[in-house]
């Protein structure tokens, strides 16, 4: 399996302009990202694909990346449950996987 990569330059569109590097934590592990990119993109670039755990214990991650499917929800300290695809990275953010209580009926499977 190949690790995800950040392109310096898009083969069709040219170079990417990114914000300054910042650090945040995910499940207690430091992750380096660029300010302003989405949490979803930053975590994917760091090779982290599982963003939440369903009530059946299944791993879930970025699916639509445009705010519709809610599969990328994470818990951001001080902000509650957020969609990783729509939440800009900020330095020092403390982020955890969202975990539905096993067997709960509050959310989907």
């Amino acid at each position: 399996m190949n690790q995800p990569i950040r392109l310096a330059e898009h083969p069709l569109l040219g170079p990417f302009e990114r914000g300054p590097e910042v650090e945040f934590s995910f499940e207690g592990t430091p992750v380096t990202a660029h300010a302003g990119e989405s949490l979803g993109a930053a975590l994917l670039a760091a090779g982290i694909r599982t963003l939440r755990v369903s009530r059946r214990g299944e791993p879930r991650g970025l699916y639509c990346a445009i705010g519709q499917c809610l599969e990328c929800r994470v818990v951001v300290e001080g902000a509650g449950m957020r969609r990783a695809c729509l939440t800009p990275v900020e330095a020092g953010m403390v982020v955890r996987r969202h975990r539905d209580p096993r067997g709960s009926r509050a959310h989907d499977r």
Binding site: M1, N2, P4, I5, R6, L7, A8, H10, P11, L12, L13, F16, R18, G36, E37, S38, G40, A41, L44, A45, R49, T50, L51, S54, E58, P59, R60, G61, L62, Y63, C64, A65, I66, G67, Q68, C69, E71, A79, C85, L86, T87, P88
Partner: protein, 410 residues
């Protein structure tokens, strides 16, 4: 635009894609106080993720269109509020908002344009919830907006213009695209493509001239007579990607991420040959069955909804001024039927002008609306990609149904 929990404007627009930005700009230029809300991080809707051939061989980014529309809205005095979800809407008009801690919570408006866009139609194969399985739109966002390439070996399952575009972009970034396949949904005639079948797909994609899609489309179209005999279709390899209409994706497998896909040939009777299935290693799967209008917020107002062939799903019943059955509620863009961004933009202009006319704004004349409507029709006929080949007839049918339902409404 922060500080106050409540905001009051003449025109509130939901969705900062091409339709919403154009609607807001049209209203604001006529002097309406105007605000646009979008839950995305940047204005532009899906535009920044789009890559296509412009004139000749040069690649064109939707990012440029997003910047142009955003700049025009700003110059017209539109307030653009991103990172904010409109979660509720009550007539005459109150918008309920969820966004930044210091952002507004309510917005009062005299007229509303909903430009909520479209959403992906799922193609739920076994294993489709595994991390690493993403929609075409999601992959466009990751690769084209964020520059994050999610893996090294990709399968594209589900046939449609967006999936084909993603296949080519992934391939260009160095990803090994192992194949483009239909996603098996139980019957060949019901293969999830934007138009519903391989035959429809050939028409849809075949209209994509002058982009590279035309080459794919014509390659499929040449074989369209065989679309119910997919077993006979030869693989074709275009732009470095293998298009396999003779095989379908049956299942996705993996532990904490997608690791493989099960692919089977189609037999003479149109069913997959599970005995001849093969498993291919992949770490990315692009899975989607096209787009459908996003109408929850519109429907919550009690406005009439209708399903007309050609518009990709149920949409608000609306007239040719983009008006709905609820006074003061206008709609534009993908939320009214899935079409390309140039069409959405012009629908937005019509909606913005019509909304201004509803408020009896000087300058929002019937002739101004008519001019904008003509431009919309021209853009529709010139559209390089049609997501549904019946869209022109669908629009005509919508107008007929509107006149039948609301003969005197403006």
């Amino acid at each position: 635009m922060t500080g106050d929990a409540r905001l009051d404007v003449d025109l509130a627009v939901v969705g900062a894609g091409p339709a919403g930005l154009a609607a807001a700009t049209a209203g604001a230029r006529l002097g309406l106080t105007t605000v646009v809300f979008d839950e995305g991080m940047q204005p532009g809707g899906r535009l920044p993720g789009q890559v296509h051939h412009g004139d000749g061989r040069r690649w064109h980014s939707g990012r440029d269109d997003a910047e142009r529309l955003t700049a025009a809205a700003g110059e017209a005095g539109v307030g653009i509020v991103t990172g904010t979800t409109v979660w509720g809407l009550e007539p005459a008009w109150d918008l309920f908002l969820d966004g930044a801690a210091d952002g507004p919570r309510f917005c009062g408006a005299r007229v509303v344009v909903l430009a909520t866009g479209a959403t992906e139609v799922p193609a739920p194969l076994p294993g489709w919830t595994l991390p690493g399985v993403m929609t075409p739109g999601g992959l466009q966002t990751m690769v084209n907006v964020h520059g994050v390439v999610p893996g090294g070996r990709a399968l594209v399952a589900g046939l449609g213009p967006l999936g084909l575009e993603v296949a080519q972009v992934l391939s260009a970034t160095g990803v090994d695209v192992v194949g483009v396949h239909a996603a098996w949904s139980g019957a060949l005639g019901a293969l999830p493509t934007p138009g519903g079948s391989l035959h429809e797909l050939a028409h849809t994609v075949g209209r994509a001239a002058p982009t590279w899609l035309a080459r794919w489309g014509s390659a499929i179209a040449r074989r369209r007579a065989l679309s119910t005999l997919a077993a006979r279709l030869a693989p074709c390899r275009i732009a470095g990607v293998e298009l396999r209409l003779d095989e379908v994706a049956l299942e996705l497998r993996g532990g904490d991420r997608v690791e493989s896909a099960v692919i089977a040939p189609i037999s003479g009777d149109g069913t997959p040959r599970r005995d001849a299935a093969r498993e291919v290693d992949v770490d990315v799967v692009c899975l989607g069955a096209g787009l459908q209008p996003l109408i929850e917020l519109t429907g919550s107002t009690g406005c009439g909804l209708i399903d007309v062939l050609g518009l990709s799903g149920p949409v608000p019943l609306h007239g040719d001024r983009q008006q709905t059955t609820v006074p003061g509620l206008y709609v534009a863009g993908g939320a009214t039927g899935v079409e390309g961004s140039a069409v959405c933009e012009r629908q937005g202009t019509v909606a913005g002008l019509a909304a201004a006319a509803y408020l009896r704004t000087p300058g929002a004349t019937a002739s101004a609306v008519a001019v904008a409507r003509d431009e919309l029709e021209r853009a529709r006929r010139a559209a390089p990609v049609r997501f549904d080949r019946h869209v022109i007839e669908g629009r005509r049918e919508m107008q007929r149904r509107w006149e039948g339902a609301c003969p005197t409404t403006m």
